[in-house]
Structures are given as structure tokens and as C-alpha cells.
């Protein structure tokens, strides 16, 4: 019973902290972010396992974490609201070359981030060449160039 409660508590805690910290926090992992992740893992290890280092305890913890993740995935498949709550929603941050400053500020994104994505993905040189930029739920920035086919 206790390993399941521990694992569930840590899962929910990590989920909350990640959601609180915003979309961009872990989108592009710098060297420091990687070290920070390792430190967070080290800090949660003890809370997950307690003083029971048996294989059985590890199996219960792994099964609980994986089970919760699968359950949340199923929930997200069936409920759009659950998907929004657990993952967030994509956000338009550039509209026809116009940066939507309030949104970008809220998400800690600036024009340099958008231009970096525009250069990397499409070789664009100016913000006016960006038709849409979308901050995805993963924290990445999707770019639609101004001359992209609109489809039908």
C-alpha cells in the first residue's frame, strides 16, 4: 500500500510542478537544465522508495508510475478537458508577422525564440516572413511561413 501511495504522491507532485513552471521550462534542455533534472530525480528517489530498496518495492513503484501515466493517457484520449488540464493548450504567439506580446510575455517567449525556430526549421530571415508561430504544449515553437500552402 505505502509504495503505491508514495509513487502516486510523487507523480502528482512532479506533474503539478511541471505544469506550474510553464510550457517552456523543459522545452529546450540546456546543460544546467539537465543537471537540474538529475538533481530533481535524486531528490525524489528517496521519497519514492523510502527505506525499502527491495526489487519488489521498485517493481510496485514502477508499475504505479507507469499505470498512472497510462491511465492519464486514456483519460486524455476520452476527455478534451482532461487533455487541456494535464497537457495545456497550444497558443498562437505570432499572427501574420505580428508578435502577440502579452501571450509571449506570459509564456516567457521572446521574438528571438520565434526567430530561432523560424531559422532552424524554415531558414526564414525576418519575423514578417512568419505567418503563424504556435507555442505547442510540448514547449516547442511551430512555424508556418507566410508563403506556406494554405491547403483547402
Amino acid at each position: 500500500m505505502e509504495p503505491v501511495v508514495r509513487a502516486a504522491a510523487v507523480y502528482v507532485l512532479v506533474l503539478l510542478v511541471v505544469r506550474i513552471s510553464g510550457k517552456r521550462t523543459l522545452a529546450e534542455i540546456t546543460t544546467f537544465d539537465l543537471v537540474l533534472l538529475l538533481l530533481i530525480g535524486e531528490a525524489t528517489q528517496q521519497a519514492l522508495l523510502g527505506d525499502d530498496f527491495s526489487v519488489t518495492n521498485a517493481a510496485i513503484v514502477i508499475a504505479t508510475l507507469t499505470g498512472l501515466d497510462l491511465a492519464f493517457s486514456r483519460l486524455k484520449q476520452h476527455s478534451r478537458r482532461a487533455e487541456q488540464v494535464l497537457d495545456g493548450v497550444p497558443l498562437l504567439i505570432v499572427d501574420h508577422g505580428r508578435p502577440l506580446k502579452d501571450r509571449m510575455e506570459q509564456e516567457g517567449v521572446d521574438e528571438w525564440d520565434v526567430m530561432a525556430a523560424a531559422r532552424e526549421k524554415h531558414g526564414l530571415q525576418r519575423l514578417e516572413q512568419v505567418k503563424y508561430a504556435v507555442l505547442e504544449v510540448s514547449g516547442g515553437i511551430s512555424i508556418v511561413p507566410i508563403d506556406a500552402p494554405t491547403g483547402s
Binding site: L16, V89, L91, R98, P99, Y132
Partner: protein, 177 residues
Amino acid sequence: MARSKARETKGDEEEPRRVSTLELHGDLAFQRREWQAQRVGQALLALVVALGIVGVFGEGLLGPVRAISPDGVLSVTYDRFARRGARTRLRIDLAAPAEGPHSVRISRGYVEAVEVRQITPAPGEVALTPEGTELVFELEGAGAVELDIWPSRAGRLDCDLVLDDRVRVSLWQWVWF
């Protein structure tokens, strides 16, 4: 140019008008609520850090607290807040008792909720009574006894310490999960 600048720095309270070609499952109302929730969450994270510094989760700036018997003979220094599975210390000071063996009884409920791993100095005798665990020490004058304790139960723990069956000190601790 001025028009372009004004347009660029304008707030984006209204939805962009030309998103018809972009199939985006966005939800600006939800996004605004999420930003609010994130601000509240970030404030809570800061609060947790501040409370941790202050000592609400144990071992902080507030330091240990002390409970003293009315006649001042028995005093106990302890952490008001402790964490389950983490060490906390109970220091029992006996002020100038008469020489000879003295017994300190710790209430049963408390002993059952914690794990006492070390007692310094080691008691000469340990007796289990219906009321609790009795530790007997040979003391010459005033002395102090320290108990290293690992709480095994979360929540409020009440503890009564009784010196020589006559002097009593009551205290409580909050143990975080």
C-alpha cells in the same frame, strides 16, 4: 511605420482575426485560467520555500521549542515540526534533582508512533509499563538526556514525560508525511 509599431505593441486581448487557415485546437479562455493557476502555483512554491526556511517543515530558523514543568525541574527541548522517517531530537533536562536513580516515563502513544534509535546517555534500566516506557538513569546533580527519534507516523503526536512519577511535561509535535 507608426501604425505598424502601434499594432505591434498593442495588447492582444482580442483573438487574432485571421486564423481561419490555421487549424489550431487552442482555447484562449482556458489558457488565461492556466496562467492564473500558474501564478497561484508559483506563489505556493515560493511559500513552500519560505515556510521551509522558517522551519514549518522542521529544522528551520524558528529552531526547537521548549516545554518546562511548573517547578522548572523537568524541561524538554524538541522540534515542533518533524518529518516522518527523518531524525528529530528530544532533549530532556533535569535541573538539580537529588542524586540517585531517576525515572523518566515517556507516554505509550508517543513511543508507539516513533522509533527511538539512540538514547544518550544510555539508561541503566528500561521498563515497559502500561502507561509507557520508563527509562531509569543514575544522575549526580543536574543532567540531560538526548533521544534520537525517527517518527514513523504522520500527523499530530502527543507526548507526556513524567519524572519520578511526579513531575509531568506535556508536548505535541506535528509530523509531516
